[in-house]
């Protein structure tokens, strides 16, 4: 039988002004199992805590109730105090008689009666508390980074700098991501390649960073400290170890295809590296279009390769590796503007997007840095930029602001003028959002120094007349409708989540919002964490971010990951669910409701019948202790430590045992 001690706090006068603490302590003496009660001015103070420890020894107490403030304030304090008194820290309950009693009631008698009930509730519960042990799990000291854009690259460099091994899994043949496609970056107009390429090289040369390009994460199991990850390494048909990137193969390949990296404005071969500075500098064979793979003809690349690196027989390979933490850096994709009939359903060749324009600006890009009309390759002199295409559009696009279009549009208008001072730039905008450092100044320069014409209003229709684009917009500031005939239209399309984001979220058990963007654990105080311990977010997979913000979150996420890895072992909260396999009938309703994938099907041999049967099994490190599984379990085979059925029943009963007695 538990020997309960009840300690009632005055909290100065915070409690004692409305609650008769002496009476509470007095009446609590009569509760089942209570052997000692007292009141004290400040229980949480050092003398208060000393008092508890002293009384435990003196009265041989085995359970503690402190009636004071909310457990969100001092539960931890008193658990430690209980432990210091030589008891299991979970042999403690807090009775909240301040926030939920003395502060919300005026009538002293009523408040005192309620406080008595609250203490009774806690005493009923604490008597049935189980001793819980915090368990520890070892930590695999490696970090997986999913995505090799600027975000993943920065995170890898930071993790490696802290001395931990990391693996980047990148879907494309090269790391570099979207940033590798850009020409210059706002507001400083640094050349994107000049600042990105050294980082790519650093990643490639680091002993602590392993690169799996042309690879995808297929399956994630396990939990913080012990993630098991299956990675599919797609067949490149080129041996990475033999190839030295001399380029003979792709120079000789006869197949010419539109280059995805160049937004289909330029060409690539069937064996190719996406761009000259690719890391690793190893080509990949496009199996869909390779003549040898499809028709058993050609085979030139194999013939000309001086290192015998071409291997047509190579197959996909699935490897499994272990990690302690995962950083998600999968980035974004662009909204498809072809849903807008009024903008021509994507049918007009000269209606392009910011990324197309970026490739055209790039001097090593498909047009050699010339701004042309894709329809006929002639120089584009009059360019209309349209912002918020798919952003801030609840009806057909995304409700949110994509956050960086204002800036890159301004940059593109500026670069257009730099490339050709004769060119005209018109920018249709709704609001200019230039809240970064030196951003507003930059936009001002574009308008003032470079003379880009800013028109405040959304474009309603683009159509073609005699080979020119007619842009029908509006300038709400002057109150006029405006029609511009343009050579080229550049749409600032929304940044959106990747189409397979949900699949990844489900694999990692991380939540996502209605826009399929991954959700952080707390929007302010845990911005790079997720609710799944050990999984962190960085970059635009979480919300549209520009390069500085992306790099900042990458560093933040890597610090968080390294923090985890700096521990040899990690504690897990013992207040989690457990299954009584004797009772479990294996319906696995619990598995359906578990938001963390913590429940698995396990085959056991029945103790009585000696036959095999299925039961539910809980992975302690994945369980977060929500209790949804308890409710779903009909025979009551699952219980939740810290909130057991017995405890809750005890609480209900304590409220009704003497119903009306006090009155």
């Amino acid at each position: 039988m538990a020997r309960i001690g009840v300690f009632v706090c005055h909290c100065g006068t915070n409690i004692s002004a409305t609650v008769d603490v002496k009476k509470v302590a007095e009446i609590a003496k009569g509760f089942p199992g209570v052997k000692f009660t007292t009141d004290y001015r400040y229980m949480c103070s050092e003398p208060g805590q000393d008092l508890i420890q002293k009384m435990v020894k003196e009265h041989n107490l085995t359970r503690i109730v402190v009636a004071a403030c909310s457990p969100s304030l001092h539960e931890k304090t008193f658990r430690t105090c209980t432990q210091n008194a030589g008891l299991n820290p979970y042999f403690f309950e807090m009775a909240n008689i301040r926030e939920q009693c003395s502060w919300v009631h005026d009538d002293r008698e009523e408040a005192t009666l309620k406080a008595i009930d609250i203490v009774k509730l806690a005493a009923a519960k604490v008597g049935k508390n189980n001793p819980l042990q915090t368990t520890f799990i070892p930590v695999e000291k490696r970090v997986l980074i999913i995505g090799g854009g600027i975000s993943g690259i920065q995170a890898a460099i930071d993790v490696a700098f802290n001395g931990f091994e990391t693996v980047i899994v990148e879907r494309e043949p090269s790391i570099g991501g979207r940033m590798a496609m850009f020409d210059k970056t706002f507001p400083t107009l640094d050349c994107a390649a000049c600042i990105l390429t050294p980082k790519m090289v650093e990643v490639n040369q680091s002993d602590l960073i392993k690169l799996y390009t042309y690879s995808e994460v297929e399956e994630v199991s396990g939990y913080v400290g012990n993630f098991k990850v299956k990675i599919r390494r797609k067949a490149r048909l080129v041996d990475e170890n033999k190839c030295n990137g001399c380029g003979t193969c792709w120079q000789r390949c006869p197949v010419r295809l539109p280059s995805e990296f160049d937004m289909n404005l330029g060409k690539r071969k069937a064996i190719y590296v996406p761009f000259p500075q690719a890391v690793p500098n190893v080509p990949v064979i496009d199996q869909e279009h390779c003549l040898y793979i499809n028709k058993k003809k050609c085979g030139i690349c194999k013939k000309v390769c001086p290192f015998e690196a071409i291997d047509y027989e190579q197959k996909d390979e699935v490897i499994e590796e272990k990690f302690g933490a995962i950083i998600v850096a999968t980035g974004f994709t662009m909204f498809d503007h072809s849903i807008y009939g009024e903008y021509g359903y994507g049918k007009y060749k000269n209606v392009t997007t910011g990324l197309h324009f970026e490739r055209m600006l790039n001097s090593s890009g498909p047009t050699g840095g010339k701004i042309v009309r894709p329809s006929d390759g002639k120089e584009a002199k009059k360019v209309v930029f349209i912002q918020c295409v798919g952003s801030r559009d609840e009806a057909r696009g995304m409700p949110y602001c994509s956050r960086l279009c204002c800036m890159y549009t301004a940059k593109q208008a500026l670069l257009l003028k730099e490339h050709n001072p004769e060119a005209e730039a018109y920018v249709f905008y709704i609001d200019i959002r230039a809240a970064g450092k030196n951003y507003e100044e930059f936009v001002e320069r574009v308008q003032d120094e470079y003379g880009a014409t800013y028109l405040r209003g959304r474009v309603s229709k683009i159509f073609q007349r005699n080979g020119r684009l007619m842009v029908r917009g509006c300038d709400t500031l002057s109150g006029t409708q405006i029609e511009i005939d343009a050579d080229l239209v550049v749409l600032a399309t929304a940044l959106i989540a990747r189409p397979d984001a949900i699949k990844l979220a489900q694999m990692l058990h991380i939540p996502y919002d209605q826009n399929r963007l991954f959700t952080e654990a707390h929007p302010k105080l845990a911005p790079v964490e997720t609710v799944t311990t050990g999984v962190f977010l960085t970059g635009a997979c979480q919300s549209p971010k520009d390069i500085p913000d992306t790099v900042a979150t990458a560093s933040a996420a890597s610090v968080k990951a390294c923090g985890l890895l700096s521990h040899e072992k990690l504690p897990i909260d013992p207040q989690i669910a457990r299954v009584d396999v004797e009772i479990c009938s294996g319906c696995l309703a619990c598995q359906e409701v578990c938001p963390f994938g913590a429940i698995e099907k396990e085959e056991i041999v029945d103790r009585v019948t000696q036959q095999k049967r299925w039961v539910a099994k809980i992975a302690p490190s994945l369980c977060n202790g929500c209790g949804a599984c308890n409710t779903a379990c009909r025979p009551g085979a699952i219980d939740l430590d810290g909130f057991t059925e017995e405890q809750i029943f005890g609480q209900i009963e304590s409220l009704t045992a003497d119903k009306g007695d006090e009155r």
Partner: protein
Amino acid sequence: MKDNRSIKERDLGSKPAREKVKIAAFLCKWCSYAGADLAGGSRKKYPPNVIVIRTPCSARTNPLFVWKSLEKGLDGVLVSGCHPGECHYSEGNYHTRRNFAVFRKLLEYIGIEPERFHMSWVSAAEGDKWAEVVKDVVKVVESAGPNTYFSKKKEDNG
């Protein structure tokens, strides 16, 4: 909350003073419990009839706890959790919502006054709302009076 609205519209203030009702409230610790704490922090006053049982998530509250509370003689029960989409465990409150959508129908069908069971979404920021919810719930439960389901026949002690 169709049933309760009709009750609210009645003038409860004119009812004669009767025995004080006791109500158990199952609150999730992340939103509603924190909301109740906030109500305290901002000194919102409300009637003392509601005693809180803290749970990790509203999904921990088995509908049958509600029945056990009524069976054991409590006059009313309130279950409260995070607003949909704000669950700390991402989807627990969606399960709670379904469970109770069904269970309240069972209670009503079996003959339990709808006035005795209540549910609310109260976030950690909604101290005011918590106070309002308690005031409302107490009023409505009072209108149903004390629980007498089994009091006339005392044939077991279960």
